[in-house]
């Protein structure tokens, strides 16, 4: 069953066309990893899906309904689609705990005590229980990134858009995130995950999508894409990537 369907999505910044007609279907509880060079449009695509960018053309179907039509209520969409940003974007004026609970109590109307329990559970899981009362500017890079992930998870969305969620984490924590992602999959959550870490993509993804210069060149299961990609360009990218030196 298709959960999220992207059809011919186009997005330009001025003269620069960043998404050149991208089409992709995500089945329910599928996890697709988005790979591609720096500047290839991964973050922009994710932002478009969450209606944070105004798209120039194309359709985005959520459970078959076009959410990209002008005038469609974006809040309803965003309650169902969570996002973790590459630059974390924590709220600096709130403690870590408040960062995690505000949206829960405000939007999902979770009772404060329950929201706090869920938040503490997530923080504990990410080894941050002792930082609950700290403010984001006092956290290390990896700690901020974990808070950002926890903040999105606390909203229990149907779909998660994850942008480079392990870039600031040590491998030990990457393992933890991997476990979390698998749990989420088991719960039926659909995920689109932009990443640079091929190992991570390989071990977690149902399918891997290769983005190059704003075009989706190839979508295939990881074994296929990492061993026998269809496109010459994919092959070359992976060759350089897997043996960079």
């Amino acid at each position: 069953m298709t959960k999220l369907s992207i059809r011919n999505l186009r997005k330009s910044f001025g003269a620069l066309e960043v998404c050149k007609g991208i089409s992709l279907d995500l089945a329910k509880s599928e996890l697709i990893c988005l790979i591609g060079g720096s500047g290839s449009g991964k973050s922009t695509l994710l932002r478009c899906l969450n209606l944070l960018e105004h798209i120039d053309d194309g359709e985005i179907l959520l459970d078959g309904e076009d959410i990209s039509v002008p005038g469609y209520d974006p809040e309803r969409v965003r309650r169902r689609i969570g996002m973790v940003f590459q630059s974390y974007n924590l709220f600096p004026h709130m403690s870590v705990l408040k960062n995690l609970t505000l949206a829960q109590t405000r939007i999902r109307k979770t009772p404060p005590a329950e929201a706090k329990d869920l938040a503490m559970e997530l923080l504990l899981r990410f080894g941050l229980a002792d930082k609950a009362e700290t403010y984001p500017d006092k956290l290390s890079g990896g700690q901020q990134q974990r808070v950002a992930i926890a903040r999105a998870l606390a909203m229990e969305p149907e779909i998660l858009l994850l942008d480079e969620i392990t870039s600031a984490l040590d491998p030990e924590l990457v393992g933890e995130v991997l476990r979390v992602v698998r749990d989420l999959k088991a719960q039926g959550i659909t995920m689109l995950l932009a990443t640079h870490e091929m190992g991570f993509a390989r071990s977690v993804a149902d399918r891997v999508a290769f983005l190059s210069g704003g075009s989706l060149l190839e979508v295939a299961p990881p074994e296929k894409i990492f061993t026998q990609p269809d496109h010459e360009q994919t092959r070359q990218f992976l060759k350089r990537v897997l043996d960079p030196i």
């Binding site: 932002r47 969450n50 944070l52 974006p74 809040e75 965003r78 309650r79 689609i81 969570g82 996002m83 940003f85 630059s87 974007n89 924590l90 709220f91 600096p92 004026h93 505000l102 949206a103 405000r106 939007i107 403010y135 500017d137 006092k138 903040r151 999105a152 909203m155």
Partner: protein
């Protein structure tokens, strides 16, 4: 650069050489501050009275007997200032926010509100406040309102509120726009409505940024309630003006200034303290 922490000293632990050196440096600079301030004060106290006109100036501005004589009445008039301030300030803070939010609208359907907000700030900032006070304070009641609806206190306060909120709205706007867009993105992505983003994410961050500017407005509003005296109420500056005209002496203004200082300085120090505490909590 990291400023030198005062923590160690307070805790009374034995100082490392590094901490001892820094403490000494700090003590030295405080000594320097005290000495140089005293030297400056001494220079003023010694040299200014040597000017030929000093005696006349002293009598005109710093006449102790007159100060004592006029102070009680000034103090009484000051209560009117406080009262006017007490209801104008909240009204201004709120109205300015409403205007700033309207100014910030990006949705095309609500565009007329944005136009109105621009028009409002342009108009009330450009028109001399004294004219606003005259038109609203004399003109509106002059249309035929009856007591108590023709009260100069009422309409004078309305005039002040209109003008001040036009200015303050622009300060709010610069505060709102100084919050990086990524904060809005993050909040929206969590499902917050535009209104909630404003209320929980933008405004709280903005307020602590523009606090000194807001205090500016409070400090100056406190004195601009004097403009109401043009349409009747006799508050402290008007009272000082009456005494000045009566005694041909400016000392009563000094009395008024003392009253203002007694409010302004504690209020500013307190707001600075709050900002510093907030900052320390956030960034350490």
């Amino acid at each position: 650069m990291a400023s030198l922490p005062l923590r160690h000293e307070r805790e009374g632990v034995t100082l490392s050489p590094r901490a001892a050196y820094e403490a000494a440096l700090r003590r030295k600079s405080i000594r320097l501050a005290v000495v140089s301030s005293l030297a400056f004060a001494a220079a003023v106290v010694i040299f200014v009275p040597m000017a030929p006109g000093w005696e006349a100036v002293r009598t005109a501005f710093f006449n102790w007997d007159l100060l004592v004589e006029t102070f009680p009445k000034l103090l009484q008039a000051f209560l009117i200032d406080l009262m006017l301030f007490a209801w104008c300030a909240p009204a201004i803070l709120v109205l300015a926010l409403v205007i700033a939010l309207m100014r910030n609208i990006s949705s095309p359907t609500l565009f007329p509100l944005k136009v109105f907000a621009i028009f409002y700030t342009d108009l009330f900032r450009s028109v001399p406040i004294i004219l606003t006070v005259y038109i609203v304070g004399f003109g509106i009641p002059g249309l035929g309102l009856q007591a108590p609806w023709n009260s100069p206190y009422l309409w004078g306060s309305v005039a002040l509120t209109l003008t001040y909120s036009a200015y303050l709205a622009e300060v709010y706007r610069s505060g709102i726009e100084s919050i990086h867009k990524s904060q809005t993105s993050a909040a929206l992505s969590l499902g917050f409505s535009q209104g909630d983003v404003m209320r929980f994410i933008i405004l709280p961050q903005m307020v602590s940024r523009i606090m000194p500017a807001i205090m500016n407005f409070m400090v100056s509003l406190q004195k601009d309630v004097a403009l109401l005296s043009f349409i009747g109420p006799i508050e402290v500056l008007r009272q000082a003006n009456v005494f000045k005209a009566l005694y041909a002496n400016f000392t009563p203004y000094v009395g008024a200034a003392i009253l203002f200082l007694c409010i302004t300085i504690p209020a500013t120090r307190f707001s600075d303290y709050l900002i510093a505490r907030e900052r320390a909590r956030r960034t350490g």
